[in-house]
């Protein structure tokens, strides 16, 4: 029988890796001219982004009518994409803050990347509400409370105002948290580089970091505090986003289960996205030793858990619709499963609840092609979850006379492309210019990082 030594943390990296090797492996993509593969990927991302930009430019000039909205479906792709991307962000904060507080140090290898994705996802989300959602973007400033001689004030009981605060707080905290974590790495890069311009840039960004003990102790303290700040945000942001729906009177939206259901869904989709992107990154940048299969498997386990929470929520919604005795609620849910948007509903259920069950099998959980496919399906499913919630509820609400069918136009898909284009463009720039794994943190969990009492 083997005994487990709890005084030693298990190493996260595979094989004997020295600090220098880590430095080299992580900063390698930053030091060399980008490979052809990077250029191809970047080109595709940029193309998708420009398609999106062309769409929103047209929308900005002509009006929201270019998209498929109508009466009664006055929200569709705009809010679907917004909620989707805000949700994607959640995995990052969960990994970087909550797992940090829980001393899950395996997260060190993926935290940086996940957190960067958070920031990019929130940028995407913010983009949707501004360019493809507001009728008069140029007056978006009205959503902020600012003193004015008219005595005009925002409506504090509107969930959209809470959204503005929640998302902007989330973005600010995430950005600061992320940047703070980057400071020691900037210092490492500053010390490694021979390029004059890079040196200048890294010097500025590293804020004079000298790896001194004092710096480290301040840093650790601050990092902990910020992790503490960010942790409630994981729960609060999507809770507030879910209030956009839960606070309304619309059957299908008006539901108290939304906050936990949305948070679980957000973490679910976020992990799927992180897993998908990391699979690519570890392959292209040869980081298999650092971002190990263990990491991927852990993420798959989280997906399995959150996927079941989401499935539970789907079931409870149906139960509540029946149990409420409200005919409007009952109708909405029957209509979801059997009505004109049944196809979307069943895509959602199969992707989010059924396929993810395959992760019960270790073989599938640790097979890269299988997990990648399931991750993609989860993202599709989670996008459709928001689409189903928004569109089916709106298209057939209280008065049958005002029912209407939503069908997206090419501009809706353009706006959808904008999200993915922007996200992947930012991700690709990130892996080119910044260390995608936290060098300093990783060193803390490598083999030989711990004191060697026994040898």
């Amino acid at each position: 029988m083997t005994t487990i030594d709890y005084t030693q943390e298990p190493a996260i990296t595979i094989g004997v890796v020295t600090s220098a090797e880590i430095d080299a492996a992580i900063s390698a993509p930053l030091d060399r001219f980008p490979s052809r593969r990077w250029w191809i990927a970047f080109g595709i991302a940029l193309m998708i982004l420009s398609m999106g930009l062309a769409s929103v430019t047209a929308i900005l000039f002509k009006g929201l009518g270019l998209m498929g909205f109508n009466q009664p479906v006055a929200w569709a792709f705009d809010i679907t994409n917004f909620v989707f991307w805000v949700g994607i962000g959640h995995a990052g904060t969960l990994i970087s803050a909550i797992l940090f507080l829980m001393r899950q140090r395996w997260r060190n290898a993926i935290a940086r990347f996940a957190e960067a994705m958070t920031i990019f996802a929130v940028i995407c989300a913010g983009m949707f509400v501004s360019v493809a959602h507001l009728g008069r973007v140029w007056l978006a400033g009205y959503l902020l409370p600012y003193p004015n001689q008219h005595g005009l004030w925002i409506n504090f009981i509107s969930p959209l105002v809470w959204d503005v605060f929640a998302v902007s707080t989330y973005f600010t905290v995430s950005l600061v948290f992320w940047y703070l974590g980057l400071v020691p790495d900037f210092a490492t890069l500053r010390d490694r580089t021979r390029n004059k311009h890079k040196k200048l840039a890294y010097s500025i960004l590293s804020l004079g970091w000298r790896f001194s003990n004092r710096h480290w102790s301040h840093y650790e303290r601050m990092y902990l505090i910020l992790a503490g700040f960010a942790t409630p945000l994981v729960l609060s942001v999507h809770t507030i986003v879910s209030f956009d729906f839960a606070v309304s009177v619309l059957p299908g939206w008006h539901s108290t289960i939304f906050p936990p259901y949305f948070v679980a869904g957000a973490v679910f989709s976020g992990f799927a996205m992180v897993q998908n992107v990391l699979i690519g990154v570890r392959k292209f940048f040869k980081l298999e030793k650092i971002i190990t299969l263990k990491h991927l498997e852990n993420m798959n386990k989280v997906m399995l858990a959150t996927g079941m929470m989401v499935g539970y929520a789907y079931a409870v919604e149906f139960f509540m619709a029946w149990y409420s005795g409200s005919q409007f609620e009952r109708f909405v849910f029957l209509n979801r499963a059997l009505g004109p948007y049944a196809w979307a509903y069943w895509i959602m259920v199969s992707c989010n609840v059924l396929f993810v069950q395959l992760f019960w099998f270790k073989k599938i959980r640790t097979s890269i092609p299988a997990m990648f496919a399931i991750g993609v399906l989860v993202n599709v499913g989670m996008w459709f979850e928001r689409y189903v919630i928004i569109v089916t509820s709106l298209s057939r609400d209280f008065l049958p006379s005002s029912w209407g069918h939503f069908s997206p136009t090419i501009f809706d898909f353009g706006v959808l492309a904008l999200g993915f284009g922007l996200f992947f463009t930012l991700v690709l720039l990130f892996v080119r210019f910044l260390p995608s794994v936290a060098i300093a943190e990783l060193k803390g969990v490598m083999e030989n990082a711990q004191p060697h009492y026994h040898e």
């Binding site: 009466q71 309304s248 619309l250 006379s401 005002s402």
Partner: protein
């Protein structure tokens, strides 16, 4: 600081230099200057500062290059009498949108007409006007109007002056008259005695002139039947108020036929829940699902060619001794056409036992024989007592179809020298078999008098622009003893002339603006004034008539002669073939309103389809022919054929295909051209009034055509959606019997909803509305009224198909029952101004909020367009500006100079990206409040009438103060039949619906 001042500002200041002055001087307390150090100031001198200021000001102004020069703005040096900026004037006039010639009241602001309402002093329409009349204001400002005389149509346009045009035309006319060539004067129906005189004067000058008068929808069949039965073509008006048991046979008396506004008013009077004892019962037997059928207590569907048989069977039933052998009794008829024997039995019973209060009314589109048979039935029912002693006037008899055929033949043969189209459009209206265009090309000289280019004027040698109604003088007479006047309310917008004055000039007059005005006044002086037998002098009589818009005077009327029996032989109908019924379109008339975007966008009252007509077929016929909605078919009839999209209409008679005429115009400006399909298969008989044709061939063709509808269509047999309007308590109805047994049957077992939040205490006036579903017939007049009042943009078919129509009020239509015998319920739906409005709390910028008098307000300036309010509105009555609609529709057609004049200056024109909705006509409330304040009195609920309320011909809409216990609206709110839609959401709407009572027996 307290230095003695040399200057003083007031005597007070001078003499009270003591305490008061010191206090002022101490304004800046000591201590402040101590901290002031001159060396801490910037080194800039005063001069430098001023130079900098001047330079920056210069740069700023230089940057503002694109300031739009709006021209000189000059105030009145001498204010015109009666014009006070901001205060509207109202003028009485007459609408000529159709042949009903209703009295209207035109609201003008600073000399420009902005709104049309019914003239309350007009004895027939009494203050109400239909959708067409309301929207006609858009025709006045239509940018596609012809602006000056021109040669040629759309292809070659050479402008010319009126003098030149007149000279050339007079020469042509004289030549034609001299050469003995005919001068054909083609007009619509003439309802003006003075216009008739003008035409006669013209004929006197040119002896070869001949008048042809036609109307696509006419009452010739009825008139001929009356002539045959009674010896007079002038049938009497009916007292619908006294008619308690009405059977309408293919007659849309609540929609398009007869004096609709009067009929709706009097029908609705018999549907007053405060007087349930007077409830009438309406039976309807028809092939097309019409508004009348939708409102009928009992409706039967019957193929359109079986009405003669039906009328004769009914006659046999009522007059047992005289059975016509060829046709059996009602029971046999019911079997033959599989109609409900119960309903027919009840009908016969009702008619029989309520003699003197029962009436059968046949539709204009049915052949003469049906009318004759119906006249006989009415005689048997003693319906004579329901006839008013006011015959329908016939100023100019319509030209028989045979003569029109003759005309085209003569035109083709070159026997016609000049054709004058007197504001008529035969190239579109005449049956295609007459080949009118071809005939027109054979005429050497043709003239089109028209407001805007049309199919006919495009082929004329010269097109002359004529005045719109609102720029014209005129008088109209549709009933004996009633004359209404038309007066201009604005100078002609373009270089156009009144069509009568043009003829007067050609007949030798000298043109002046007042030529027809004088002519009209003259006739009134010599003919009307003596007949009116009034004691006042003519000038006063004239002005008071103009002021009132209509006069009533005692005119000798002959008693209705005795009935002369006509032997009517039934024609056995071929039940296997398909029958076509050509109906009048609800809102664009015979096509003359095709260019009116507001009317094109008014949903069909039954199918809710906009911008198109279609071939309505029954479910069974659709199954037989393998058709679905939006399929295309060709309909062949009498050698002609037409392509049509299909719409499966519940309640449509099997084997009958109904098509609305007036669509498919090819030359009606950017708005009306190619909207819908032209039913190019009018056989000649159409011009004699009949619009039912048997023996049509239907074949399905490939392809489909999307019909845009403002309401989704759900199959009636879908169990999931069946009767959902009742299950959800959106529509609540009962029967008269139920109500008389228990007036509170509707609200039995209901509980008061509680509210956990503290409610706002309203004091003073609180606005509320009630809508009586017993009275509402679903005619859409309110929608049109709202459109005009509130500057509702036209979005076009494509956008309407997407569900983006902008109307603030809509009429919801719900079906129940079966496809064969559907029951319809109409419900006007508009912002409910909920006390707990769900839209308000979700708006992040408080752009929508509540006023202390109970209005749910919308602040456009503040709106950023999140659309959340619309999502959270349970009634989905909010409308979003997805585009700048005026710019988006037809390349900015309604953004052009003249069209923008139609906007109501009291209402903001909403920009792109803004949410909008019904405001309860807040501009009218504010105006009333202002007047009340001016007069130093309290504002009363009755001071305000909303536009929809004003428009409703059935007075179903009541608006007022719910806090005033005596107001009509508060009586309705507390009535046992009053309910709110979606009460259980506890949004507390301020609109009360009065549940419909059907007068049916269980």
């Amino acid at each position: 600081m307290a230095e003695e001042s040399k200057y003083w500002k007031s005597l007070h200041r001078l003499y009270s230099q003591g305490a008061g002055g010191d206090a002022k001087a101490d304004e800046f307390l000591p201590g402040v200057p101590d901290e002031f150090k001159s060396d801490s100031l910037s080194g800039m001198s005063r001069k430098q500062f001023l130079a900098l200021l001047a330079a920056s000001a210069a740069f700023t102004t230089a940057g503002c290059r694109s300031y739009r020069d709006k021209g000189e703005i000059v105030p009145y040096t001498k204010k015109p009498e009666e014009v006070t900026p901001g205060v509207p004037n109202y003028y009485a006039s007459t609408c000529t949108g159709c042949s009903q010639s209703c009295g209207i009241l035109i609201k003008t602001r600073e000399g420009r007409p902005v709104k049309v309402d019914g003239n309350p002093d007009h004895p027939i329409n009494r203050g109400k006007i239909c959708a067409k009349g309301q929207a006609s204001i858009l025709n006045l400002y239509d940018p596609s109007r012809l602006r000056r005389p021109q040669y040629g149509g759309s292809q070659i346009q050479v402008e010319l002056s009126w003098d030149k045009a007149d000279a050339e035309i007079v020469k042509q006319l004289s030549d034609a008259a001299a050469n003995g060539k005919e001068i054909a004067l083609i007009t619509h129906g003439i309802h003006s005695p003075t216009t008739k005189n003008t035409l006669e004067d013209f004929k006197k000058t040119y002896h070869t002139a001949k008048l042809y008068s036609y109307e696509l929808f006419n009452d010739e069949n009825r008139r001929r039947a009356w002539e045959a039965c009674y010896g007079t073509r002038e049938f009497p008006a009916i007292d619908w108020k006294k008619a308690k048991y009405i059977l309408a046979i293919e007659a849309d008396i609540l929609g398009t036929e007869g004096m609709v506004l009067e009929q709706i008013r009097e029908y609705a009077d018999n549907r007053d829940i405060l007087k349930t004892a007077e409830f009438s019962r309406l039976y309807c037997i028809e092939s097309t699902m019409s508004l009348t059928g939708a409102n009928a207590d009992y409706r039967l569907r019957l193929r359109a060619d079986a009405y003669l048989e039906f009328a004769l069977a009914l006659k046999n039933e009522l007059e047992p001794g005289m059975t016509d052998g060829a046709v059996g009794h009602i029971a046999e008829f019911a079997v033959k056409y599989s109609l409900s024997a119960d309903v027919l039995e009840r009908l016969v019973h009702d008619l029989k036992i309520h003699k003197g209060a029962s009436l059968v009314y046949a539709g204009d589109l049915l052949p003469e024989e049906v009318h004759a048979a119906v006249n006989e039935v009415n005689e048997l029912l003693g319906a004579r007592v329901l006839y008013k002693n006011q015959p329908a006037e016939e100023i100019v008899r319509l030209t028989p179809a045979s003569e029109i055929e003759n005309l085209t033949a003569r035109m083709k043969a070159g026997k016609v020298g000049v054709v004058i189209h007197f504001d008529s459009n035969p190239a579109y209206h005449f049956p295609k078999s007459l080949e009118y265009e071809k005939a027109l090309h054979a005429v050497p000289f043709s003239i089109g008098l028209t407001e805007a280019e049309n199919e006919t004027s495009a082929h004329c040698t010269i097109s002359l622009p004529v005045n719109h109604d609102f720029e014209s003088w005129g008088d109209f007479k549709i009933r004996t003893g009633i004359l209404s006047l038309q007066q201009p309310v604005i100078e002609p917008l373009y270089d156009s002339r009144q069509k009568e004055s043009i003829l007067l000039v050609w007949a030798g007059g000298r043109y002046s603006e007042h030529i027809y005005h004088e002519y009209l006044k003259n006739r009134w002086k010599t003919e009307v004034y003596p007949a009116a037998k009034t004691k006042i002098d003519f000038q006063t009589f004239w002005y008071s008539s103009l002021h009132d818009g209509a006069i009533e005077f005692a005119e000798p009327v002959q008693m209705l002669p005795a009935f002369g029996r006509q032997a009517v032989k039934p024609v056995p109908s071929e039940i296997d073939a398909y029958t076509i019924v050509l109906t009048e379109s609800y809102y664009i008339g015979d096509g003359r309103f095709a260019g009116n975007g507001w009317l094109q966008e008014l949903p069909h009252p039954i199918s809710k389809i906009v911008w198109d007509n279609y071939a309505a077929v029954s479910t069974r016929t659709a199954r037989e022919l393998g058709l679905q909605n939006n399929d295309l078919i060709t309909i062949g009839l009498a050698g002609a054929s037409a392509m049509m999209p299909v719409f499966v209409q519940p309640g449509q008679a099997d084997g009958t295909i109904s098509i609305a005429l007036g669509y498919g115009r090819t030359n009606a400006g950017p708005v009306g051209s190619n909207a819908g399909f032209d039913a190019k298969l009018y056989p000649q008989a159409l011009l004699s009034g009949t619009r039912v044709f048997s023996g049509a061939k239907i074949s399905k063709i490939s392809g489909s055509y999307e019909l845009a509808s403002t309401q989704e269509h759900h199959a009636l047999d879908d169990e999931f959606l069946r009767d959902i309007q009742f299950k959800r308590n959106i529509i609540r109805e009962g029967t008269l019997e139920e109500y008389s047994r228990n007036p509170n049957f509707l609200r039995e077992g209901e509980k008061e909803l509680t509210n956990i939040a503290k409610e706002f205490e309203y004091s003073g006036v609180k606005w509320a509305m009630s809508i009586d579903l017993n009275k509402c017939v679903g005619c859409n007049a309110c929608v049109a009224g709202c459109n005009v009042e509130n500057n509702i943009p036209v979005v076009g078919k494509e956008q309407a198909a997407k569900g983006r129509e902008m109307q603030w009020i809509r009429i919801d239509r719900y079906y129940s029952g079966t496809d064969e015998a559907p029951l319809l319920s109409h419900q006007p739906m508009l912002c409910q101004h909920c006390d707990n409005a769900p839209c308000e709390n979700v708006c992040p910028v408080s752009a929508t909020n509540h006023s202390p008098d109970g209005l749910n307000q919308m602040v456009y300036n503040r709106c950023v367009g999140t659309k959340y309010c619309s999502n959270n509105c349970p009634y989905k009555v909010r409308r979003f500006n997805f585009f700048n609609w005026r710019d988006n529709f037809a390349n900015g057609f309604y953004e052009q100079e003249s069209a923008v004049l139609a906007e109501n200056p009291e209402v903001t024109v909403r920009s792109r990206g803004v949410m909008e909705k019904c405001t309860f006509c807040v501009q009218r409330i504010m105006e009333a409040r202002q007047y009340a304040a001016e007069q130093g009195r309290e504002l009363h609920g009755s001071d305000v009438k909303t536009a929809c309320q004003e428009a409703c011909p059935a007075t179903a809409i009541i608006f007022g103060d719910m806090h005033d216990p005596n107001s009509e609206v508060s009586k309705m709110r507390t009535h046992g039949l009053g309910y709110h839609v979606l009460e259980e959401t506890n949004v507390r709407p301020n609109i009360t619906y009065i549940a419909k009572l059907r007068n049916i027996s269980a």
